[in-house]
Amino acid sequence: MPEISPFQSPYKHWRSGLLLEIVAAAAFICLLALLAFVLAAIS
């Protein structure tokens, strides 16, 4: 696996990186909400 050099420009793939961050954040919040929902339902 090629390590990515810290000297490489962080602007190169910024759009796809940004998209990944947004999708990951949304998925994470959904997961937490689902968890809270289930916990509240069973208690």
Partner: protein
Amino acid sequence: MWVQRTRDDVRAIARYLGMLVIGIGILMAVPLVTALLLQEHAPALDYFAGAGLAIGFGSVLMLAAPKRVPLNASNGLIVTALGWLFAALFAAVPLALSGHYGSYLDALFESMSSLTTSGLTLVQDLDHLANAHNMWRHLMHLVGGQGIVVAVLSFALAHGGGAVSLYLAEGRDERIMPNVVNTARFIWFVTAVYVLLGTTALSALNLVRGMGAVRATLHAFWATVATFDTGGFGPQSQNALYYHSGWFEWITTMLMLAGTFNFSLHADIWRGDRRELFKNTEVRTLALNIFVLSVLVSAGLAATRAFGSGLEVARKGIYHVLSANTGTGHQTLYAVQWMRDYGGLGFVAVVLAMAFGGMASSTAGGIKALRVGLIGKGVVRWVKAALAPPSAVIVARFHHMKSRILQPEMLASALMIATLYIVTYVTGALIGVACGYGVPESVFESVSAAANVGLSTGITSPSMPAALKVTYIVQMWAGRLEFIALFALVAALLQPVIGRRAR
């Protein structure tokens, strides 16, 4: 040994401080222009006076030393520690003139809270505050979040050597790129992208809901800045509850998470290293931390039987855990409700979330997930070593941009800073109790101040004792700088005493 500071050192420190104070004065142009555009004449005068005072004082201070005087690392620490205090002192002037603060101390509390992206507020009659003043309160989140010394001086020092030591002193201990100016530029690029996205999304929401165009955009920009910079101010006294909108809460929690991302992590992912998001020790620690606390807060809120459905528990619980863990401090509950209606497990989980905090090298406060992760790994290694035969060499690995071995010095530094945070939390709580407040709310408020969160149980109000206001100001200051710069300042001030004794 204690380094003796010479007269030249003091002059250099004064020059850089002057530069910083001028920077704060120049920044006041933004609220000034806002006031002029919206024809708010009295606030315009407040900012004219504030800017004049800051630029005048800064210019005179800059005369202390000649141009291009070098700044070493030790003096950089002093400039940083004093810089935050001076910035807050001058940023408070227009707020104090606004007539919405009980005293200059209240205004100073507000500016320190704003610059450190805490979000505790002492403003009075916020619902009638001028747009210009709201612009300034939120702009300070933006400048303070990205690192005020870096923000102001990276432009002034583009070619100087002093920037590196200042950057490191401000609690942004990683170099994303080999050069500080490029690093600062990247930080501003990420911020601009997210602020633009957030402002667009929230403006659209506000317009759909019937706000006027100017007000919709201003509110959207402020809410975006307050959440991406994990600040927590709002332009209305009800904070996030003013909007009564699930969509608003959804967009702002996304911004909070983006704001708590380590800037090195942003850089690595934007370079194209997508796997880092899942392998990074800090990301994993924070995710686990939020996950566990979400379980606690959900169980706690469900046990109160106040909510009719799981969806409500999710909306209140997850919002507050995220708001606390990322150090934002937006609230969709009234302050008194934390103690009265939702005490118990939910309350404890939120306090813990605030205490742990978000990721290092982000705008979040608290102990920070990287340290928590390293300490966790350290404990595991310790147990492993205790169980293994004496001849075995046990190492702990963690992943942060690349696979690394946990060195004793890293662990020691993480433990030391975590301890300092805990000592600060406890001290503030003790002072709160001494001022006559109950133990749980004192702990909550103290952690909120020192971890730069801004959630409140209602202690923070204009009528609280001045001693407690000063305590929280110092806590916010110390917590934002992660202690080192502040200790350096204290050591330098005590220099004559300590130095003599050492001799």
